[in-house]
Amino acid sequence: MDLARTEVAKAPARKGRRPSRGSAARLGLTALPVAFFAVFFAYPVVAIVTRGLKVDGAWQFGRITDVLGQSDIQHVLWFTTWQALASTALTLLFALPGAYVFARFDFRGKQVLRAVVTVPFVLPTVVVGTAFLALIGRGGLLDELWGVRLDTTVWAILLAHVFFNYAVVVRTVGGLWAQLDPRQEEAARMLGASRTRAWRTVTLPALAPAVAAAALMVFLFTFTSFGVVQILGGPTYATLEVEIYRQTANLLDLPTAAVLTLVQFAAVGGVLAVHAWTVRRRESTLRLVDAATTARRPRGAGQWGLLGFVLLTVAVLIVLPLGVLVQRSLDGPEGYGFAYYRQLTSTDGGAFLVPPVDAIGNSLQYAAVATVIALVVGGLAAAALTRRAGRLVRGFDALLMLPLGVSAVTVGFGFLIALDEPPLDLRASWFLVPLAQALVGVPFVVRTMLPVLRAVDERLREAAAVLGASPLRAWREVDLPLVRRALLIAAGFAFAVSLGEFGATVFIARPDNPTLPVAVATLFGRPGDLNYGQAMALSTILMLVCAVSLLLLERLRTDRTTGEF
């Protein structure tokens, strides 16, 4: 999620490096990530699209205009776009004050709160959708208090999107905001500028690219929204992603699904291109300071009021839906207690061949392997991107982001039909799940590692060498301490994202080895009180695991060069 600051902490110019050596090294570094993406991303996606658009060896490009000409499909396109725009605007509205408060104010429990707002981002949508329904659906809190129900309206979707993406804005914008030197604004005021004018001419221009980047990311996530829209939108609302899923999984209309995949691909490509452009525009140097020195305790009614507003937003939009989840997991048949949790260890429910609690172990194993893969691939890619960026490399940079925006359904189905023949006969292998999860983890690893790698000052290494250190020693003393922390943080994030991955996993996870999100979805799909309660209990466990790993990250997150996680 450190999407704004990739170029901010730019290293001093590296002079005098021979270009030939650099490009050879880069080629070596890029080989593995490129191969990984080619085999486990591009190839499956191309395979499923080809299956839809090629009939008897001939391409059916006419299908594209056919499909796009249908009024139903146009309706889907229109809805996808406007709900994404509205979600983005609403998220900015609620989260920008949050970004400011997290950046500039010091208050007790800030670290915990920062972890709390990030939990939704890594929760599986099936869990969130149900929690949200309990809040704004029938009998939800709003219903009880004021008789307001939002579950059949588009507001449910928009609010859930704010819930999901609040952290994107807080972390991306807030991270930079915390490092802007407040003295610059003070200087402007000293020179006679009004408070608003100083803010408009000094702070805003510095922040604008970060805001733009965050907005683009929120747009990307909401444009491709799947679970939220499926659960809260009902049958009348569908995003492109939901429509791709319906066309493939329910109707087996592969040509239509293929066309829609291409449309989404083009849209996501466009968004990423604009994103890359805003990132480049940020290459202008900003005067950054240590985040720890810019935050202070709020003063005056205005600042306390703002803090109060942000705390209220977080309480209502984020803590409340999560609280409903916990409450329901404890609200057993014989009053409050851990009955549903105890039930998780038995196979009586019959939803699985194994006790549901096994899903926790499976998920942890899968996520661990996925994290390692994401670290290797993402780490190498980040190292390659550290080198002076040419046009080609920047293209590679954007390419690494694609898995975030391409339909998980497409990837899942693609895995099924593409990776089924030697030498890539992986379909029956457990390894397929971590591979799919790693795809979504890699972008996060790259975004965390890149600023850190770029910020390592070449002169430090040179100084070490001058003082007689061997290259290995210089690496150990200079690079490792800086990179180790970023590596851990990247690992934590990849781990949390892998734990929550649902869209692709649900197609390839084996029923005797369900992951937590898959187990939750399966339990929801069965009747009866016990299954419902167990689903709630498992969701709560998943939420706690995510929250704990994020809290650990918060503890690591003290160095200003470590990006925003």
């Binding site: 329904l133 780490g379 290494r461 210089a474 590596l487 009866g528």
Partner: protein, 363 residues
């Protein structure tokens, strides 16, 4: 030392970790399909498939095969996934294609012919046209409107029993059903209305149903566990629709999973709204272990499995003389004349009907 080398070293270290981890993983759970040894046989099905452990063990012991079971999403998705992977199928036998989707599976060449050993033991009403040997009927269930007994008792209102009742003003805004394009009970309900009101009449009926405030949600889960006021999940979620499209076997399920077990089921079935669903199994084309698959099909239509199945999947056996459990007799209902439709007719009309239903009801 350059960033490059540092990263390479990191990568090597991490790579070693990966190998170690993979080793752990494969130790506990090695991959490999059923093709590896002819002693493995794999059943592909939807997420509702279940069988008692001891019944399955018995089969494994007597046949010498080890059974793997792959359950995949809901029925429609499982069928579509099987069609997508038919060149190199995930298993040997597929169970769970029902009469509403049978034609899609057959037209796509999903199955190869095999007649199960006890095919003649299948009750006559479930048999397919003569000469159709690619699939074997395994179970049947009825898709029916369920009602919340407490709601109607409190209102002193008689629960609806037929399709005609559902459009009466007394039942306005009470029914929730599933999207026919994404849910098999939703599709079954639409086909039930078509069976009742004919090819030309069902749309008119749905107009009335829409005017009477029918609510459509995407899946059975949401309809039954969220919106319906009679189910355990729905009560908890404060569902406010006392009528839902579900199965005739849903009331006994409510009893089975309730603690303590109530004296009577909290829900009832409107027996005049039912549509019969029959589920079939077949030997997959390109099955790696066709011999094992045949044995598995014999098992699915055999007495032991047919007796065990009702309480595992909450459906009815199709075999002559198979036992219907006490729970069903005590808490369930007999559906005397469910709606039915020829699979060929479903095949010809499913897609256009779903399309016109969508624009009629959802838009």
């Amino acid at each position: 030392m350059s960033t490059t080398k540092k990263a390479t070293l990191t990568a090597v270290a991490v790579g070693l970790g990966l190998v170690a981890l993979s080793a752990c993983g494969s130790g506990s759970d090695s991959g490999g399909g059923s093709g590896k040894g002819s002693k493995d046989v794999t059943l592909v099905s939807h997420s509702s498939f279940n069988v008692s452990k001891d019944v399955l063990k018995e089969f494994e012991k007597s046949s010498g095969y080890k059974v793997r079971i792959l359950k995949d999403g809901d029925a429609g998705q499982a069928v579509n996934k099987a069609i997508l992977t038919k060149g190199n199928p995930q298993g040997d036998v597929f169970f769970g294609v029902d009469n509403t989707l049978l034609s899609r599976a057959l037209d796509n060449g999903l199955f190869q012919p095999y007649e199960a050993k006890d095919a003649d033991q299948v009750l006559p009403e479930y048999r397919l046209a003569k000469g159709e040997r690619r699939v074997t009927p395994v179970d049947s269930g009825d898709i029916c409107v369920n009602y919340d007994k407490k709601y109607f008792a409190d209102k002193k209102l008689a629960p609806p029993q037929t399709f005609a009742d559902l459009v009466k003003p007394a039942y306005k805004d009470l029914l929730v059903t599933e999207n026919a394009s994404t849910s098999s009970p939703g599709l079954g309900f639409v086909l039930g209305t078509a069976a009742k009101y004919g090819d030309d009449g069902w749309q008119g009926y749905w107009k009335k149903l829409k005017d009477n405030g029918v609510k459509v949600v995407d899946g059975w889960d949401q309809a039954y566990n969220q919106e319906f006021s009679g189910s355990a999940g729905g009560r908890k979620a404060k569902g406010d629709r006392p009528l839902v499209v579900s199965y005739a076997s849903s009331p006994p399920v409510e009893v089975l999973y309730a603690k303590p077990r109530p004296k009577a089921a909290p829900t009832g079935v409107a027996t005049g709204t039912c549509f019969r669903q029959v589920e079939y199994a077949g030997l997959l084309s390109n099955a790696k272990n066709a011999k094992g698959g045949k044995a598995l099909l014999d098992f699915l239509s055999g007495k032991r499995f047919q007796d065990d199945m009702p309480l595992q999947m909450f459906v009815n056996p199709v075999r002559k003389g198979a036992q219907v459990p006490e729970l069903f007799r005590k808490y369930g209902v007999e559906v005397d004349e469910p709606g039915t439709m020829d699979p060929k007719k479903i095949a010809d009309n499913r897609e256009p009907w779903v399309k016109s239903w969508t624009s009629l009801v959802l838009k």
